[in-house]
């Protein structure tokens, strides 16, 4: 509560007026610039510390890796857009556009799961890369930059559903983090990218959904 605010009657309004300070409206573009900066910082950090994938460094990127990384980047931006827009509440606004992007991105892990299921049904050995947990941990860690930027932004705003805002921040952070990790990750097979990179987004989304609402309530 602002200092010196009397909460009774007209004196209450007078104290609010006396406490008024100019504020910059929360512009969607500014929020996206802030989140994009955090995403770019994460990607730069990964490349600077771990290096760039060989195919990317050679200028001949693997088409599947490039596509999957692009999908995660778009998911990160769409979720960040949705989260940032939640800072400005209004009855009558629909905010479910990001869900279609998430559904599109789910094709990658969905295909990996279908592949595993097929292998199980046909009795073939599953090439399940347990080392992918490194990507998951790195993705979550790097995603904290984007997640932190979004949390700061939304704490200035008034998200009407802290639970949904937490979920969106988590998904955006996980997708941003795993996009950055994709620039280094040497794997190029569907199982690794679908399962581990996809799990990073799901796990980060769950963390955001469970852990962030308390930071976003107002």
């Amino acid at each position: 509560m602002p200092e010196n605010i009397d909460i009774r009657g007209d004196a209450f309004l007078d104290s609010l007026v006396a406490d008024l300070k100019p504020v910059a409206p929360l512009r969607q573009g500014m929020g996206m610039a802030f989140a994009s900066l955090a995403l770019a910082l994460g990607a730069t950090l990964v490349v600077a510390v771990l290096g760039l994938r060989r195919d990317l460094a050679a200028g001949h990127p693997d088409p599947f890796v490039l596509t999957a990384a692009g999908v995660f980047l778009v998911l990160a931006l769409a979720s960040a857009w949705g989260a940032i827009d939640m800072a400005r509440p209004a009855v009558g606004i629909r905010r479910d556009g990001w869900g279609w992007t998430a559904a599109m991105a789910a094709v990658v892990p969905g295909s990996a799961l279908a592949l595993i299921l097929t292998d199980l049904v046909t009795g073939q050995a599953i090439d399940f890369d347990r080392g992918g947990i490194v990507c998951l941990a790195l993705g979550i860690g790097i995603g904290l930059l984007t997640g932190g930027a979004l949390i700061l932004w939304l704490r200035r705003g008034a998200p009407s559903s802290p639970t949904r805002a937490g979920l969106l921040i988590g998904v955006a952070a996980g997708a941003a983090g795993i996009f950055a990790v994709s620039l280094w990750c040497p794997h190029d097979n569907l199982l690794h990218i679908g399962i581990w990179h996809g799990a990073t987004v799901v796990f980060a989304g769950l963390l955001g959904r469970i852990g962030l609402p308390r930071l976003l309530r107002w």
Partner: protein, 176 residues
């Protein structure tokens, strides 16, 4: 008299730039609107507190108003958020919730806007059992056992319906 949307939008934009005179007029208009808004669902003794809590949120979150959008849907979202928070926070003692007779007359256009943004509309989205449990316990001040006897739901089901209903209300705040 409640300021029209264009006037409120101009006042809110000026308030964001630090104009205290405009801010005082905006807050007075918001208070009038909120008093009418809450009157359908909140008992008289609680309205002042809820209006003040909402105005305090308006004050704290002034930056969240987007000058390119209308003010009333923004104010209604904040009002709904505070209302759901209020339902969560406290069980009421008095059973004098809805005071239809006190509802002031409003012109047709304004009524249409208020109806679209109203708290009743929020409750319409709830399943009947959840809506009834919240109305009896949270709005009319009945105990869980009284609500159980009134609805025929078991006490644990009343609690579950309140919990699920409040969760759903919170998720529906921005839905018109």
């Amino acid at each position: 008299m409640i300021a029209d949307e264009a006037t409120l939008a101009r006042l809110a934009a000026l308030a964001q730039r630090g104009d205290r005179q405009a801010y005082a007029a905006m807050l007075a208009a918001c208070r009038s609107w909120l008093l009418r808004y809450y009157r359908r669902k909140v008992c008289a003794e609680q309205i002042d507190d809820l209006v003040q809590e909402t105005l305090l949120s308006v004050h704290r979150k002034l930056a969240s108003y987007d000058p390119s959008r209308p003010v009333i849907p923004w104010l209604a979202a904040i009002a709904r958020y505070r209302f759901v928070d209020h339902l969560r926070a406290a069980y009421r003692n008095a059973a004098d919730s809805v005071q239809e007779d006190d509802i002031a007359a409003a012109d047709d256009k304004e009524q249409a806007v208020v109806a679209r943004l109203s708290l009743d509309r929020l409750f319409e989205a709830l399943p009947q059992a959840q809506c009834r449990a919240i109305e009896l316990v949270k709005l009319e001040g009945l105990s869980i056992s009284e609500a159980s006897a009134s609805t025929g739901q078991s006490e644990s089901l009343v609690k579950v319906n309140i919990h699920r209903g409040l969760k759903r209300l919170a998720a529906l705040i921005e839905r018109a």
